[in-house]
Symmetry: C3
Subunit: 360 residues, 3 copies
Amino acid sequence: MPKQIMQAEPGRGNYFEDFYLGQVFKHATPRTVTDGDGALYIALTGSRHILHSAQPVAHALGYRDRTVDDLLAFHIAFGKTVPDISVNAVANLGYADARFLLPVYPGDTLSTSSTVIGLKQNSSGNNGVVYVHSVAHNQNRQAVLEWKRWVMVHKQDLARPAPVTVIPELPAVVPVERLQIPEFLDGRQFETALTGGQKLWDDYAPGERINHPAGMTVDDSDHTLATKLYQNNARLHFDEQMMKATPFGRRLMYGGHVISICRSLSYDGLENALGIAAINAGTHSNPSFGGDTFTTWTEVLERWELPGRKDLGALRLRMVGVKNLPSRELPHRHVEQNGKQVYHTNVVLDLDYTVFMPRR
Amino acid sequence: MPKQIMQAEPGRGNYFEDFYLGQVFKHATPRTVTDGDGALYIALTGSRHILHSAQPVAHALGYRDRTVDDLLAFHIAFGKTVPDISVNAVANLGYADARFLLPVYPGDTLSTSSTVIGLKQNSSGNNGVVYVHSVAHNQNRQAVLEWKRWVMVHKQDLARPAPVTVIPELPAVVPVERLQIPEFLDGRQFETALTGGQKLWDDYAPGERINHPAGMTVDDSDHTLATKLYQNNARLHFDEQMMKATPFGRRLMYGGHVISICRSLSYDGLENALGIAAINAGTHSNPSFGGDTFTTWTEVLERWELPGRKDLGALRLRMVGVKNLPSRELPHRHVEQNGKQVYHTNVVLDLDYTVFMPRR
Amino acid sequence: MPKQIMQAEPGRGNYFEDFYLGQVFKHATPRTVTDGDGALYIALTGSRHILHSAQPVAHALGYRDRTVDDLLAFHIAFGKTVPDISVNAVANLGYADARFLLPVYPGDTLSTSSTVIGLKQNSSGNNGVVYVHSVAHNQNRQAVLEWKRWVMVHKQDLARPAPVTVIPELPAVVPVERLQIPEFLDGRQFETALTGGQKLWDDYAPGERINHPAGMTVDDSDHTLATKLYQNNARLHFDEQMMKATPFGRRLMYGGHVISICRSLSYDGLENALGIAAINAGTHSNPSFGGDTFTTWTEVLERWELPGRKDLGALRLRMVGVKNLPSRELPHRHVEQNGKQVYHTNVVLDLDYTVFMPRR
């Protein structure tokens, strides 16, 4: 046996004390997204959204090709940030100001970079919150999507002084003027027969609640295949042995995949939501595990005209993901607990996002 | 909390009273089929059929490219019909007169339409049988495959009068004159070394039974991934919570995927069956579930010359799918029960179909 | 019921007495490898290796396109040999002298042929060892990879005389002069920011041990999907019913897929290992099953300069796969048992292989 020299811890990532304001990460392993990823995404979610499903339809609406599903692009771009930002995370606390800037097409290659825009050490001194602004570019150096998120990260060297607290200003919602809807997209070319949904932008009313009828059970193989496809290497999703020693007791489902499942389940009732323009806010309110069955409801929050367009409008939606209960049986997201409103234990997702949809 | 207006039931589908004779459905969500779907289909079935596996071989035989597996194309085209035809089905009763008309290539986009060709309310008045003729077209408006099926569908508004009973005439078998074998396909260019099977059309005899040696266990993730890939959204395949309350007690495997598994298992012994020309009749004789192990036998029913061709012939086959027993241990599909011949409880599939195969 | 004529056993394969020295097999079912296979491979392994992940990066380094993962190509080429060589195998005993000769690109079609280079009947007379040399070619008849392996195969007709024993000379290691590193590959164009790993060839020292931090649980659906993707039809990986009657009691994981999982886990710490040049030796030291969690360590065995090149060097590595224990908790591969060194029961893989890596 040769003398063993142990290598300095590989894949160590960054701890709270390693981050500083203005720090820039160019995340590793750019990723070419292909028709293969698109097929797998359909197999993993059952997605039927038309722009990702049918090349001739996308083409007739002005797109160069079918587009890569917005959330598939998001998860792949997000996965790139994990080794630098969140491999030592205690929890992913929230998302804000996510904007989908340009379509991603099969064959495009995504790279992600992030900038630290806020830091706050927790009172315990054992961890702190890191705020990052991440941007994904395609191979032509065009920004295709961006988002902000904040994560609680472990501190390893507790002796290091706390940084100055900086909490960035985050918009509660991406306003309509900041939505990037493709100019070439011609909503007048759209036919509802293609999606099977009769309702267009004009037919939704703020306050409306849609109980999407479908439910989907997600097994361990499903969510781990998805998360590996996204090249997200956060260990708590994959290592059953390691997770047995935690309070979870087993592999935790990647919250982003829960968003994808719920978005796919929301097809019936929102068939003509062509694409996602923004994610305004998102909370993974309870953990999900292999074997959980998901159902979804959507609340219509706002209906916006898009500046200068008569063919398309925007809907701000609240998508609520529920596990192991039909969503229609749950009247509210919250329940009262000790005088406080807390999420119902079966509510796993509360996502505020904006779609664009053809008008009458 | 905003005032909630509940949306009329989305994804409701059609009940028995909603169907009428001559009714035409243009089903939603056309689907571009890609190399990604082809790779997934291989991963889900273990298929080794040469036309779908090897581009240069397909090309040498006259095809433009590898073809999309016949059954993959069928399942995708079939999946499109579910939201309109069978989302409220009690049972899928049978198939007939399915014909594969043109090859489907990676990059093609499939759309399906259906016409109601028969209706019969059951004596209970609670449901009825709907007969449909479905046709799938590619992006060039060419019909690539068609089939007839009949499903038992729930009636919701029991007060509605029964329709006039019309039962369409369905052929017991697609006759040889109606098989569409590609004219460009040159069977003389075929080499058995490519498939590893020495037997050609001339070497099979009606009455022959082939016990295919392989067995395959299909887990819940496998069949749900497949069925989502086919964009078949029938809920009983996906929602474990909902299914727990049914006599099945769990998610039911999509019967079409059982056909695919058995067809793949039948490779050893039928290596040179280049493609499927027709499905004459099909019965899902017992339900299948995640964890079931499938084996298969094939009976050669007929050997047909193809008009005007010396390079290729057709074989009419009966493929029997068995669960949780080696097929060779089962002498017959049927057993006697109370003086009646019924399917053995381990027989899950009885499919009468026609393939084309090179001749000596 | 028609008179049944049973077909001679299909998919029978070859038994020990069917092999003879110099025998050549042209294995069936060539396979076109596509972007779909690439996406699935990422989903099945979590691979982040740059040449397979990012088209523009591969292109900048001189490749025509992203390459197909070396091990994916290997498994597909290997799977072709199963029906002729090892469908009746008792055990896959070892690999040697595997060389990766040319890049495989999406769209390439692989065919494999094998030559019997050695035979040795075991003293029991019930089985024997078959040594084969296998070569995979692309559609342009270029050899892209080759390997030698030896398998123990059942004898069926025990009356047949034993063949003359011939044991081929197998190199313990593929020497540096026989490594085929693409001439066009320009290591000076490489940037470590792309992979997230700072260490280059110069920074590794023989004797060094790298405990890769990640662990991955592999479920039954994962390994069976992978093995079907490889079109490897060895029944013991798929047929739970059949395996219940064996001492294993359940489906056995394909050892090649364990190599893939470990290789993917070894990314953190070996980020800049661009590709595999050779597999010198390999042992599947214990069986693996669905539900096992894998971790990996790597020992650096040798660091070689490549003749005539200053941009790239080779590292000979020993990758050890461990199940259900963090690899860092295991100091040695072996334990003493009755005075003999045997593999620790949790060590499932011992692979000696050679990679190429950019130099400083």
